[in-house]
């Protein structure tokens, strides 16, 4: 028997990495600004309702007297 030369191919060994894709999830402040604006409008409408409603005015006056 002569020299045996063994060789095993096909087994892979990790050697490194390279970045192929980069992605972002992007947040918007504009949405929050719009929500805040809506909230302000809601508050304004609520104040108008409060002013117009005599029942609420009476309730507020009673609360103030307590």
């Amino acid at each position: 028997m002569g020299n045996l030369l063994g060789e095993r191919d096909g087994e892979k060994q990790e050697t490194g990495s390279r970045l192929t894709k980069i992605g972002l999830l992007i947040k918007s402040d504009a949405v929050e600004e719009r929500i805040e604006l809506n909230a302000d409008q809601g508050r304004s409408n609520a104040q108008k309702t409060l002013t117009k409603s005599p029942d609420i005015r009476l309730s507020a006056a009673l609360t103030a007297l307590k």
Binding site: L5, L19, K21, G23, I26
Partner: protein
């Protein structure tokens, strides 16, 4: 009551817009940091660690900060097998500053990220990677009201065929 109901912020990544550059084909591993934020409502990207070799970007990790000033470390997206051959570059933005724009270049085959450029809300630019070789530039479209909140992407894993020889005599 009206105000508190309307201004409540939805936690997590709901409502975030997704944009990506590059490809994820072949021996790739996808990565994302989005699961770090499922219960959070407010955070920013305040820095990066980028691993580099002579070809460009080998890996990336983002650093985030929540509204209370607590750091949130992103996942380490790099092959541990190659770490010994890479050099890392840490980019940390100044206090109160955060990532506003991201751009970079792909190599001439348009397969691998060669360089990255981070621009902060205060207008500072930080470049990493091979910025001298000609490449294909890319940029994310981010308007004045927007800012990047989470990174994701893909790494191609490099392999070499393992071979061994033995001569018992």
């Amino acid at each position: 009551m009206i105000n508190s109901q309307i201004s409540q912020t939805v936690p997590g990544i709901a409502g975030l817009r997704k944009e990506e550059r590059g490809k994820a084909i072949g021996n790739v591993q996808l990565f994302t940091d989005q699961d770090l934020f499922k219960d959070r409502t407010d955070w920013k990207v305040i820095g990066f660690t980028v691993w580099l070799n002579s070809n460009g970007v080998a890996g990336i990790k983002a650093l985030y900060q929540d509204a209370q000033g607590g750091d949130i470390e992103g996942k380490k997206n790099v092959s541990s097998a190659g770490l010994a051959d890479y050099h890392s570059q840490d980019v940390r933005f100044n206090s109160g500053d955060f990532l506003k724009e991201l751009s970079g270049t792909f190599d001439k085959t348009e397969t691998f990220v060669q360089s990255l450029s981070f621009v902060t809300s205060h207008g500072e630019t930080h470049k990493v990677g091979d910025t001298t070789s000609p490449g294909k530039p890319f940029k994310f479209d981010i308007n004045e009201y927007e800012f990047p909140a989470v990174i994701f992407g893909a790494l191609e894993i490099e392999y070499s065929n393992f071979r061994y020889h033995y001569d018992p005599f």
